[in-house]
Symmetry: C2
Subunit: 373 residues, 2 copies
């Protein structure tokens, strides 16, 4: 009888820490992206919380962070135990396929049978033990050759998330709850979302992908050979003196595309995708409505207040206040309000308009007001 | 035939510049009261605009300002032509009867047949010529022995103002439009206000009183002998070396009461009051709803922006923004909103809640946060 290894011993966590979180402007900025903020009121940034969640799974020596050059110092400050060899710096943003694909390719060259799992730097997860249980199953499914993902059991018919349409059970050893994935579906309208949730066949797509590195790269190469070739050139040079020159040459040529399109959807279509249902609270805190909800425990009448030393005087008001300026903030008779008070920019909107914040950021870009972006 | 004098030659303007304007917090503060602000966007403070409106009537040597000691420097900066002898400083606020009564008593000692007219430092008046015409008639009525007031012809059934119920014409020489005053009525409800305006018998009480100083003081003394006595002691000492000592002794003992109760209402009841209808736009700009209305020309969809160097980016929003901080202010999908952004305090409310701003100020007082009051 051959010796069996614990698949988890081959597991490596990857944290793509890229997006600014434009819908959380003016809290999130180019130089202070969402993942560097404490949105949960715990005193830890989302990045740090993500790290802390992954350490029990892969150990702190096996967590790689892919981030922009501008954020290197901030990331290293948040994660003092992050190893130098586990920092991958992007010269410019190239979306998730490049970030995760390159991490997988670098790790595969260092450790051919590595299993990589990618977890966004700026999501909020409630029950850490339930998360761990799901990842352990996902790693087992990856070890069996699947590209696996963790789907979150919906707590409501959310219209801000994508959904995973689940297929039949897969009967994978070590992953008893793994299901086939029928398809990924984009953010639905409310009626569709209600139908999804009522059916019990749909999970939220949390954007977590766990796979053997070679399997992930084969899938990516099948869908986008140009990207695969660029990633391979970068990875071949990565741990050599050529890295800088090759990055300068290749990085600008990388196609900019989300991993959903290069890996998740094609793998689902080919029957190579497994989903592990995750039984934990999860949120991508994509906008201020989500932030308000996160802090209100779902009660509409609550006023959530974020920010150290926040001084808020509220009368008959609900919603969320983010205070970064230290000023006294008074609210009178405003409901579902969103007030974000920073030293150089103020936002006043409502939860219902939270998605439109990005359009302000776009308008500021167009008008060249980069000083507040 | 006796020589007839022009009553206007005896006219002296008095500007009580006292109230902070708590319902305009955090724009109005103890150290920056409403009358020192440019609420009209003309570049002049309300006090300066009041001065400029009175100069053509009484001349700049005949305008007296009654204000708090703390505001002396700011008032003199706004009104460089204000004569020293025309500055009356209050050691503490004692409401309008003391302020106007003392001014009248000081002026009566200097000039026994003086006619005084008191005009609030923080009101907005549209048509200056129509204002002047009304004051000229009011001065003529005062010269004939009446206590006269100017009532503003209502442009709408406002519930934020008091009303004057007019009686029959008085046929006073030089004041052809003067009417008797039946009574003063407090701020009505909307239904009552609509009835008032429809009847044509009611005018808004703009709080302007014009009278011979001795007539005013007699009326005041009849109603409140204690106050009259205090005022007389102060006025007797005012232009002497004893002023300081007498002020220290008497000022704290002055009853605190509005001139409406000591002069206007009792004079009306006694048939001594004449009202001149004023055909001009008028507003006391008592709260942010009034401020928004002043700048929106009545259109509900407008967003009024006040403040030098205001940087506002608004999408589908209406109401009023007061910017004093220089920060970028973004509004998305908020209607009838009131945003007042100052360096140390921010207010977010709605026009409908504008009257409740005072309660915030009261709460701040109670909690000892005088730093932002």
């Amino acid at each position: 009888m051959p010796e069996t290894r614990d698949p988890l011993s081959a597991f490596y966590s990857v944290i793509p820490a890229g997006g600014i979180g434009s819908r959380l402007w003016p809290l999130s900025r180019a130089d202070a992206p969402k993942f560097l903020h404490d949105l949960t009121g715990t005193g830890s940034s989302l990045l740090r919380t993500t790290w802390d969640r992954l350490v029990p799974l892969s150990g702190e020596q096996r967590i790689m962070v892919v981030t922009g050059r501008a954020h290197r110092a901030a990331v290293e400050k948040e994660l003092p135990d992050l190893a130098d060899r586990n920092v991958v710096l992007e010269s410019e943003p190239k979306d998730s396929s490049a970030a995760i694909g390159l991490a997988a390719a670098i790790l595969a060259r260092r450790e051919p049978d590595v299993i990589v799992g990618s977890f966004a730097a700026d999501h909020v997860i409630g029950d850490q033990r339930a998360f761990k249980r799901a990842v352990v199953e996902a790693v087992a499914a990856a070890d069996a050759g699947y590209i696996s993902t963790i789907g979150i059991t919906p707590s409501e018919p959310a219209i801000g998330f994508g959904y995973i349409h689940c297929g039949p059970p897969l009967a994978i050893e070590g992953a008893p709850s793994a299901l086939a994935v029928d398809s990924f579906v984009e953010k639905p309208d409310l009626e569709t979302a209600e139908r999804y949730v009522a059916s019990g066949d749909y999970l939220w797509n949390g954007g977590m992908f766990i796979s053997r590195a070679d399997v992930l790269l084969d899938q990516l190469g099948e869908t986008n050979p140009v990207l695969r070739e660029g990633i391979d050139r970068l990875a071949d040079a990565w741990d050599t003196p050529e890295r800088g020159a090759v990055v300068d040459q290749v990085w600008p040529t990388l196609p900019k595309i989300a991993i959903d399109y290069t890996v998740a959807e094609p793998a689902a279509a080919a029957g190579r995708l497994a989903v592990i249902p995750g039984y934990f609270d999860w949120d991508d805190v994509g906008d201020f409505a989500a932030l308000a909800k996160l802090h209100s425990s779902g009660r509409k009448s609550d006023l959530a207040i974020l920010g150290e030393n926040a001084r808020v005087l509220a009368d008959a008001s609900s919603g969320v206040v983010v205070s970064q300026s230290g000023r006294l903030i008074s609210l009178i008779g405003v409901n579902d309000i969103v007030v974000v008070d920073t030293p150089d920019a103020l936002l006043v909107t409502t939860s219902a308009n939270a998605q439109r914040v990005k359009s302000v950021v776009d308008a500021l870009k167009v008008s060249g007001r980069d000083d507040v972006l």
